[in-house]
């Protein structure tokens, strides 16, 4: 029934099957919206956050989706600014995933703040010294950029493309896309960095605090770098998952390979920097605050101990680096899949550590390590954008020519 909207020369499942597939994500979205309604109308008492845990699951989710959404800016940067032409075959999807991630971040922020109707005060009464201000500005501008980058793809829908104006608009936008992509990369560098700065500047919280350069703590650069490294991994991961669900090969291996290689090197350099940062922080920064490095890990209530650091740097850092950098290993599809999955987990763990631990970690000597378990409302509203993202990606895949190589890789037999 929707065949007129489906791109030419590709095969899609039946509308019924598609609808059936959308039931679970749609249900999750409804569940999430109900939780969001509770948070908006009854207040944040619906969460399990408290005065010690003002930053919790949501902020982590925000940082994580933005980090993994970094694939859009970095792939765009490689494609339009550096000129890696092969990447045109995955850029649409990268933009799409990025767009979903950034929409998620905005939505979560809108639920997270205590007075959503006053959220715009961050623009109106901006305090330029605040990292969050920088985040909000760059985030909303970059979301605009992503929307602009997504628009031409939308215009390529078979039905829309028939309108001459839309066709021309899409065509023109393609021509100047490099400018937009460069702007996006610039914005992204800043807000990814600012998000790193969010905890890095907290000089009252030794666990999060980092030294740095000018107004930027080292985490500023580490966040940008890790997003650039792990964002493409998430793009590839999503792409692989899409391939699994659709049962089709959508992007050629050489594209994966190129992106994986770049990611591997990015992740490798990042991990070196991260280790250096951790060492400097542990040996130089932390003692000036009166703490020892191990105090952050062997506190009585801290059940994960040092393992979380080993997980982040070793299992989800060095291991994927080794796989991605070595040609033979990354060409092995299961190793490749493991590597990108670990890289994505690694960046999420990093964001978790940087949000949750500075909150939990007692600073006053007579303070307690506070444990926190999110309420179902928090989980539901965190799952909401994920489910929403799945729906957007599914719709886009169904009705838009997201993968330029799809037709070539999956020729449709003319009946």
């Amino acid at each position: 029934m929707d065949s007129a909207l489906i791109p030419e020369g590709v095969e899609r499942c039946s509308f019924k099957r598609f609808t059936l597939g959308m039931i679970i994500p749609a249900a999750l979205v409804i569940w999430g919206l109900y939780a969001a309604y509770l948070c908006w109308f009854k207040g944040l008492n619906q969460t399990n956050m408290n005065d010690s845990y003002g930053f919790a699951l949501w902020i982590w989710a925000d940082l994580a989706v933005i980090a993994v959404g970094g694939g859009a800016f970095f792939t765009g940067f490689l494609r339009y600014v550096v000129g890696k032409d092969e990447l045109k075959n995955i850029i649409n999807f990268a933009v799409l995933v990025g767009f979903c991630c950034y929409c998620s971040a905005m939505l979560i922020l809108a639920i997270d703040i205590g007075q959503p109707l006053r959220g715009w005060f961050i623009f109106w009464h901006a305090n330029v010294h605040s990292m969050l201000t920088e985040v909000a500005f760059c985030l909303s501008l970059y979301l605009t950029v992503l929307a602009i980058e997504y628009l031409p793809l939308l215009l390529e829908n078979r039905k829309l493309d028939q309108v001459p104006f839309f066709h021309n608009l899409g065509h023109n936008m393609h021509e100047v896309m490099a400018v937009f992509a460069a702007t996006g990369a610039f914005l992204s560098c800043f807000h990814q960095g600012s998000l790193g700065g969010v905890t890095g500047v907290l000089y009252g919280r030794p666990f999060g605090m980092r030294e740095g350069i000018f107004i930027w703590p080292w985490t500023f650069f580490l966040y940008t770098w890790s997003a650039a490294a792990c964002g493409p991994c998430f793009t590839m991961l999503s792409c692989k998952i899409t391939e699994m669900i659709t049962g089709k090969k959508l992007v050629k291996d050489n594209v994966y390979n190129l992106l994986a290689k770049i990611s591997g090197w990015m992740l490798g350099t990042y991990i070196v920097a991260k280790i250096a940062d951790t060492l400097w922080w542990a040996i130089v920064t932390v003692p000036t605050t009166g703490f020892t490095f191990m105090e952050f890990y062997n506190n009585s209530n801290n059940f994960h101990g040092l393992w979380i650091l080993i997980l982040e740097i070793g299992v989800c850092g060095l291991l994927p680096v080794a796989i991605l950098v070595r040609k033979k290993w990354r060409e092995n599809s299961s190793l490749f899949f493991t590597a990108i999955l670990l890289a994505v987990i690694g960046v999420c763990v990093n964001r978790w550590v940087m949000v949750m631990q500075p909150m939990a970690m007692p600073v006053m000597t007579f303070d307690q390590w506070v444990l926190y378990l999110p309420s179902w409302q928090e989980w539901a509203t965190t799952i909401l954008p994920v489910a929403g993202g799945i729906i957007i990606i599914a719709l886009s895949y169904r009705y838009l020519p997201v993968f330029p190589q799809e037709r070539e890789l999956n020729p449709v037999e003319k009946s």
């Binding site: 623009f123 901006a126 500005f137 501008l141 001459p164 023109n172 914005l187």
Partner: protein, 53 residues
């Protein structure tokens, strides 16, 4: 955000920050306008509608 908001302080931080913001906004605004106006021009010239690229 605007100089008429009373917190507006004319210091370097604001120049850089808001300078960057307006610069980016200008690029996006001009870029999009260029695309839209060129598309209108092209459409009037009879381009599009088929697969001519």
């Amino acid at each position: 955000m605007f100089p008429n908001v009373w917190e507006w302080a004319w210091d370097a931080g604001h120049y850089i920050f808001f300078g960057g913001m307006w610069y980016v906004l200008a690029i996006l605004f001009l870029g999009m306008n260029w695309c839209v106006f060129k598309a209108i021009k092209d459409t009037k010239a009879g381009k599009g509608g088929g697969h001519d690229h």
